[in-house]
């Protein structure tokens, strides 16, 4: 028997992220059975209630000490992953990060592997694409004033400038911010060619989108660039036509066209009455990684054995082919460039360009 301790934010502000990761995990187990290499897989869920590294660390300790967990997984938020990292190192247990997207996470313990994304991976790619192919040389950036936002801002600006673009201004917005009109007005005053946005998912994307529309910023004239969250499914739904023509770079959308994905989406919908998102796919791929690694080690859940097994592992995920960089244990994947469009009666993100085999640019730069 193998126990996987899943640490997530199941309650509080980030409850939905935890729920979706969980859905991904459950769906994978439903499809692939709960026995691998002759061992029964048991999931133990723990709730951190939010970005609490101390709680995450305690839960990780308890999972290992009390519940005798063999593998740690989950981690919606970077602080959670960072809190548990030292435990995985000390206990020599595989730790599968299914979301937390700050670059440094995987460097904190040799037993960490990430299957989700790193923010710079997206922001950097988008910036380069915007200058080279997107036809914009002047950008304004708007990000939420917290770790991931600052990360995204840094990555975007750096890559944008390196590609020959110019950053005309930037603003960091409070994390809890119900009204964006002032920030949008500021951006508008500078009349930029494009605006890059990073804000966490939830209620804000729609609010920001509506603020753009109210201020008369037309995505047809001013390119609105962003990562995936600001144009996620609920945001688009609530914005309606106002979302049309917004451009984003992201690694997964439920509209991705592939057989694997359409099966996945169908199964997911049947089970949970909603569409999967990148959290769900993170959970799903994380489980795949664990299953495959266990098959390779023949059910040996020892941390070193598992880590050796996952290095370089490559597989087809609903988002396309992804693989684990053996040096950084970080995910390498395709970044899609999408535009919000009307397809039939639905308003959805449509992929129209892609950049393959994107590694985390931060760790790549560090190596140089």
């Amino acid at each position: 028997q193998i126990k996987i301790g899943v640490i997530n934010s199941y309650s509080g502000q980030f409850a939905d992220t935890g729920a979706q990761i969980d859905n991904g995990i459950k769906l994978y187990m439903k499809q692939h059975g709960d026995t691998v290499a002759g061992k029964k897989i048991e999931i133990i869920r723990k709730d951190t209630g939010g970005p609490n590294p101390d709680v995450a660390k305690r839960l990780a300790q308890e999972l290992i000490v009390r519940d005798k967990a063999d593998i740690l997984a989950g981690f919606t938020l970077t602080p959670e992953a960072l809190g548990a990292a030292s435990v995985s190192e000390e206990a020599k247990k595989l730790m599968v990060v299914m979301n937390a997207a700050t670059s440094i996470v995987t460097t904190k313990s040799p037993y960490i592997v990430r299957v989700s994304l790193t923010l710079p991976q997206i922001a950097d790619t988008l910036a380069t694409w915007a200058v080279k192919k997107g036809g914009t040389k002047k950008a304004y950036t708007m990000v939420s004033d917290y770790g991931p936002g600052i990360d995204a801002e840094g990555a975007f600006q750096k890559a944008f400038k390196e590609a020959g673009g110019e950053i005309v201004g930037s603003v960091r917005m409070p994390v809890a911010n119900p009204d964006f009109s002032a920030f949008v007005q500021r951006a508008k005053d500078l009349n930029p060619e494009s605006i890059f946005v990073f804000i966490p998912g939830g209620a804000q994307p729609a609010a920001l989108g509506k603020a753009f529309a109210e201020r008369g910023i037309d995505p047809k004239k001013v390119k609105l660039l962003s990562t995936g969250e600001p144009v996620d499914e609920t945001a688009i739904k609530s914005m309606g036509d106002l979302a049309l023509d917004r451009i984003s770079a992201w690694h997964y959308d439920f509209n991705h066209k592939s057989k694997m994905n359409s099966d996945f989406v169908k199964a997911f919908n049947a089970e949970y009455k909603r569409n999967p998102d990148f959290f769900a796919v993170g959970g799903y791929d994380g489980m795949h990684l664990i299953y495959e690694a266990l098959k390779k080690t023949n059910g040996n859940a020892d941390g070193d054995a598992l880590i050796a097994a996952i290095k370089g592992m490559k597989w087809e995920s609903p988002r396309g082919v992804i693989w684990i960089d053996p040096e950084t244990r970080d995910v390498v994947q395709t970044v899609y460039i999408r535009r919000v469009q009307k397809v039939g009666n639905d308003i959805v993100n449509v992929e129209f360009d892609k950049i393959e085999n994107v590694k985390d640019p931060v760790k790549a730069a560090m190596k140089k």
Partner: protein, 287 residues
């Protein structure tokens, strides 16, 4: 063409109105009744989910759901009042805090169970979408709608509570329940009605807020701080005070974010701290 400062002013007032509709109910329960109702936003959430469900799943008109949001929250609150709140009117603030936080917790769990943890987007009617152009300013229609509602609610409440015998009875009962009862005031009924009114307004506020701040189970907690700020800055027991506070906070928040974005997150709290230090009982407070 009007200079941008008018735009900022308009946005600020409109933002203030959002805060106002969310908090005016608390201004009734906490301000008038002195009941520390931290479950306020739970009643708002109830209104919100009702509206979202009716609009999304039953294709109701958004406008038609608004009175229902009020009624539903008011009705639910009467039940709560009977079972829980009533027994705590005389208890200390701290017991009230504990009870209402408990209720808020439960509401979050129930909402998550019934509606899931995802956001509940709603599409407002076309009438309220987009903006109208006024001397070069683009005024969001929904914001104009909010301003109108806030003004109507304020006038109704000020007239209905602050200048009537009913209002005086509420205040009397809050000041001294024993004496109020001893004079023949039906304290229980007075409180129940006031409470239903406050919660109904919360429900209405919740329904109106979805368009701007969205709706998920955590709604019960996220806006609690803002709501408390408005009520305390306005002054306990004063509806007009809440309105003034909402405008002040809204305008200074928007203006701050526009002119000094670095201070964005600080400003609302700074304004509150400064005002409360200058006028401890709030702008219009009488106690």
């Amino acid at each position: 063409m009007l200079p941008p400062v008018f735009g900022v002013l308009f946005d600020g007032i409109a933002y203030g109105m959002l805060l106002f509709v969310l908090s005016v109910g608390l201004s009734v329960t906490l301000g008038l009744m002195n009941f520390v109702n931290l479950a306020h936003c739970a009643f708002a959430m109830l209104g919100g989910y009702l509206t979202a469900t009716l609009v999304n799943d039953f294709n109701w008109s958004f406008f038609a759901t608004l009175p229902l949001a009020f009624i539903a929250a008011a009705t639910a609150s009467i039940a709560f009042e009977r079972v829980f709140y009533r027994r705590l009117y005389r208890a200390g603030d701290l017991d009230q805090v504990l009870l209402t936080i408990g209720i808020a917790f439960v509401s979050v769990a129930i909402a998550a169970y019934l509606f899931g943890t995802a956001q509940q987007p709603i599409q407002t009617p076309p009438l309220l979408r987009g903006a109208i152009d006024f001397l070069g300013l683009s005024l969001g229609k929904y914001r104009l709608f909010l301003i109108a509602i806030a003004l109507v609610v304020t006038i109704l409440l000020v007239v209905g509570i602050e200048y009537t015998r009913f209002g005086a009875q509420v205040r009397a009962a809050v000041d001294n329940q024993r004496m109020a009862g001893g004079l023949g005031i039906n304290v229980e009924r007075t409180f129940a009605v006031t409470f239903a009114l406050g919660s109904g307004l919360a429900g209405l506020g919740g329904a109106l807020a979805i368009e701007i701040v969205g709706l998920d189970p955590n709604f019960s907690f996220i806006y609690l701080v803002y709501v408390l700020i408005i009520v305390s800055v306005g002054g306990l027991g004063s509806i007009a005070g809440s309105l003034a506070a909402a405008i002040l906070i809204g305008v200074s928040d928007i203006a701050g974010k526009y002119y000094f974005p670095e201070l964005g997150a600080f400003l609302i709290y700074l304004v509150m701290v400064v005002i409360l230090m200058w006028r401890p009982s709030g702008l219009f407070g009488r106690r």
